[in-house]
């Protein structure tokens, strides 16, 4: 079995770019998952946290964290956003491994992500910290 990327990737390893454009169907699913009577009216725009979550899902897959035997804890999250994103608007995400250390057999990794629009303008950033336990080769 190939070792998951988290066991070999070094700091500054880059991920992506990923197309994290959110189509209408996924926006509807988000509203079903999160929405309620208190929710703001998004109209044809998205909650930016949804774009972050979409990028995170791809990152987790790229890091090999769905590999058998691994257990991943999402420990921390930072997000900043400059403007709203429209449903279907093209957004690209590029990740960079900001930290990756092993303590007591657990991997502690932080991935910083930059989100850009079709003009290449950065519209948001995020930073995700995860702890991975299990049989991670290192």
């Amino acid at each position: 079995m190939t070792a998951p990327l988290i066991s070999t990737a070094v700091v500054c390893h880059e991920f992506g770019p990923y197309d994290v454009t959110i189509p209408a169907g996924r926006a509807i699913a988000y509203a079903e998952a999160v929405g309620g009577s208190e929710s703001p009216a998004y109209g044809d725009t998205l909650a930016p946290i949804m774009v972050v979550a979409a990028a995170l899902a791809v990152l987790i897959e790229d890091l090999g964290l769905y590999s058998g035997g691994l257990q991943t804890i999402h420990a921390g999250q930072e997000v900043s956003w400059a403007r709203q994103v429209r449903v279907g608007e093209r957004v690209e995400a590029v990740g960079r491994l900001a930290a990756n250390s092993v303590r007591r057999g657990n991997h502690f990794a932080t991935v910083a992500v930059s989100y850009t629009d079709s003009d290449g303008v950065e519209i948001g950033t995020s930073s995700t910290t995860i702890i991975v336990s299990g049989e991670v080769s290192s």
């Binding site: 699913a29 309620g36 703001p40 979409a54 899902a57 999402h74 400059a82």
Partner: protein, 139 residues
């Protein structure tokens, strides 16, 4: 300190809300986010993990917190809002969680008047599932 034009003051509570986190919501969140990790979806698999049952995505709980922020600051949250949180405990499908927030400081910056809020989402037993801080430009 209060912010004159916005009538916001340190100590103001944000309008939190409760949400029943059902497995249907978790399933929908998997579709929305693309995160199909079986720990959220497959009870047989989840039974083999440290949690011994399915758990909701941490980002779902955080999404609820951002719903509160977007409702409270509809003009500015998505245009310059920032947050930093940690995930302290899993939310299990079937639990009712409650979002909360409070303005803990207001400061004048080159960008305008910025509020810093303590934010989070509590489990039924009162423990935090998510907690941290957010900053937002006051409207």
């Amino acid at each position: 300190m209060s912010s004159g034009s916005t009538q916001r003051a340190v100590g103001d509570a944000l309008a939190g809300f409760e949400r029943h986190v059902t497995q249907d919501r978790v399933d929908a969140y998997a579709e929305a986010s693309g995160d199909h990790n079986p720990i959220h979806l497959d009870e047989a698999y989840a039974a083999t993990t440290q949690f011994e049952t399915r758990i909701a995505h941490g980002m779902l709980s955080l999404a609820l917190v951002t719903e509160m922020l977007a409702s409270e600051f509809p003009e500015s949250w998505h245009k310059g809002g920032k947050l930093k949180v940690r995930f302290s405990a899993p939310v299990f499908p079937g639990e009712v969680v409650a979002t909360y927030g409070e303005i803990i400081s207001i400061s004048e910056t080159d960008e305008g008047t910025i509020a810093t809020c303590s934010i989070g989402c509590k489990k039924p037993d009162g423990t935090d599932a998510v907690s941290g801080r957010a900053t937002v430009l006051l409207e």
